[in-house]
Amino acid sequence: MGAAVARRESPRSPLTQLRWVVQDSWTVARRHLLHIRYMPEKLADVTIQPLIFVFMFAYIFGSAIVVPGGHYRDFLMPGIFTQSMAFASMSIMVGIVNDMSKGVMDRFRSLPMSRAAVLIGHTGANLIESVLGLIVMTGSGLVVGWRADLGLWPTLAGFGVLLLFGFAMTWIGAFVGLFLRSVEAAQGFGMVVMFPLTFVANTFVPTQGMPAWLRVIANWNPTSAVVAACRQLFGNSISTPQASTVWPLAHPVIAALIWCGVLIAVFLPLAVWRFRWAMSR
């Protein structure tokens, strides 16, 4: 036997316990980041897919979409950013389903590691993926001519709102992933929930042209609040007189913060509860 034999004891002091939560979370998160190295397509949800949307909407549909008082590309990019944050939750969903169904979760559970670290590692890695995706999207936005016009602080605030939304979506992804049994189901969930969530909104077109019932849904969709907040903070707003009579779109930053707060307040505890249940079966 080599030098490597585990220290066979549990942490006694709370400080050691905390250190292990952090260390184990990093080990789990690191695993997901290694996946990206071996399998860059894992980032597709937050890179390639939004890039395709940038291309489609900026050059194909966009050529026929006229937004009053501005450039469509300026209008489009905050929508794409937001959509990619929503789609990032697919990756954690699939990751968790995979670990649950392939016995990896059991291996973790048989190790003397921190239980919480499994969930923290998963969500932390997901957030890092979102940041990477955002960097790629920002680059491509700049290439197609998008600009944030209001200076450093509002721009950073805009990205802050996006990441907060990404964080909220991560917990939704984790929660749903803990319920699903197969990767196919996770992908199906993406089609059935993610597309309406990101399309029945002001993501790609202003909402005022939609039929009344759809417009109500779109205006109150959390995605719309986040998109509108980004447009405001990036200075990509265009005058949409009708929308501004709707409270969330008239006060988009506050609305986005409230929405994210509510989603996190609901789904983080739910995910933790479901995770603890799954870990103690």
């Binding site: 036997m1 080599g2 030098a3 490597a4 034999v5 585990a6 220290r7 066979r8 004891e9 549990s10 292990w20 260390q23 184990d24 080990t27 690191r30 695993r31 290694l34 996946h35 071996y38 399998m39 894992k42 392939k102 016995g103 990896v104 059991d106 291996r107 973790f108 559970r109 048989s110 190790l111 003397p112 590691m113 103690s280 079966r281």
Partner: protein
């Protein structure tokens, strides 16, 4: 070795373990005990409750009732102490397909809180030992079924645990990989590891185990050494095959003379079988009598009962009968899956 508190020479002790899932009674009061350094096999068909038992013993699952003590620690109240002392290779190879074999082992080492360098060194050691040194840098996705199993076994050994649990370690392996796995397991046991393994293969339990617990439908239906179990079915037999079936009657009389018992006769194939007590002595007596009666022998052997027969006798059905996909499991090695 482990600094166990109490427990004496017993590494694994479970009493009256029960577990239900919905309306399924997966375990209905099972006891198992394994001495330190010994090999215990849980033998039973698909759905018998083997995996459930292993999951309870390895702290993955809470029993509805019963006590579980591993290395002297309570598996529920002192689960983390237990986790430092056990290794588990589950029924599925729980390896990350999108990491290299080496990265898999390193990750497990880190989660045992080994220092980074030690985790790396241990990973290399284990890759070497399981013949995966060359494949170590490759994604596990490219591994064959046998390689995955070996990697999974290696992962369970990262912390050099004194107690090891292997849930169906050879199911799904081709015969050659299976023998390779057996040799690895025997080497571990020679090194002093306490092993609990589950299997559907009677031959496997016979070869590896010191003690066998036969499980059927959530109950332990028999416990003993392989020899004890075989003896319980009723000792040894002499099997005779005749050169010419027309001598059957003469052979029957000669065998009855030699053993004092009437043999079973299969007229069509010219086979006679008789239970004996005296083993080799009975065999020579039968040969002598048959020779004296001028009966031509094609083949004669002293036969010990197989575990297949033990299983049938204990449960009323063959070990492979309960496979849900209708596959015969007793002997048929399933195809090795390569993806």
């Amino acid at each position: 070795m482990s600094g166990t508190a109490g427990g004496g020479g017993v590494a694994i002790r479970a009493r009256g373990v029960r577990k239900h899932f919905g309306r399924t009674e997966a375990l209905r009061g099972v006891d198992v005990t394994a001495e330190r350094g010994s090999v215990l096999a849980l033998l039973g068909p698909n759905g018998a409750g083997k995996t459930t038992m292993v999951r309870i013993l390895t702290t993955l699952l809470r029993p509805d009732a019963g006590q579980v003590e591993i290395a002297g620690f309570d598996a529920i109240r002192e689960a983390n102490e237990v986790r430092y002392r056990i290794g588990l290779a589950g029924q599925q190879a729980a390896v990350d397909e999108y990491l290299s074999g080496r990265a898999n082992l390193e990750m497990v080492g880190r989660l045992y809180h080994l220092p980074t360098r030690a985790a790396r060194q241990r990973a290399d050691e284990l890759l070497d030992r399981f013949g995966l040194a060359e494949a170590g840098q490759r994604l596990v996705r490219t591994y064959s079924g046998g390689m995955r199993r070996r990697l999974d076994l290696a992962a369970s050994l990262v912390a050099a645990p004194p107690i090891l649990f292997l849930d169906e370690p050879t199911t799904g392996l081709d015969p050659r990989s299976r023998v390779g796995m057996w040799e690895e397991i025997e080497a571990l046991v020679d090194g002093g590891t306490t092993l609990l393994l589950t299997t559907q293969y009677l031959e496997e339990a016979d070869r590896l185990a010191d003690q066998i617990v036969v499980i059927d439908a959530g109950k332990a239906v028999a416990t003993g050494t392989p020899d004890e179990l075989k003896r319980s079915v009723g000792g040894e037999r002499v099997d005779v095959r005749l050169r010419e079936t027309r001598q059957l009657e003469a052979a029957r009389q000669a065998i009855a003379e030699a053993t004092g018992r009437t043999p079973d006769v299969d007229a069509e194939s010219g086979h006679l079988t008789v239970p004996v007590d005296a083993g080799a002595a009975a065999l020579t007596a039968v040969v002598r009598e048959l020779d004296a009666a001028d009966v031509g022998i094609e083949d004669i052997a002293l036969r010990r009962p197989t575990l297949d027969e033990v299983f049938f006798k204990l449960t009323g059905h063959a070990a492979g009968d309960l496979s849900p996909d209708g596959e015969q499991i007793v002997r048929g090695a399933r195809r090795e899956e390569v993806s």
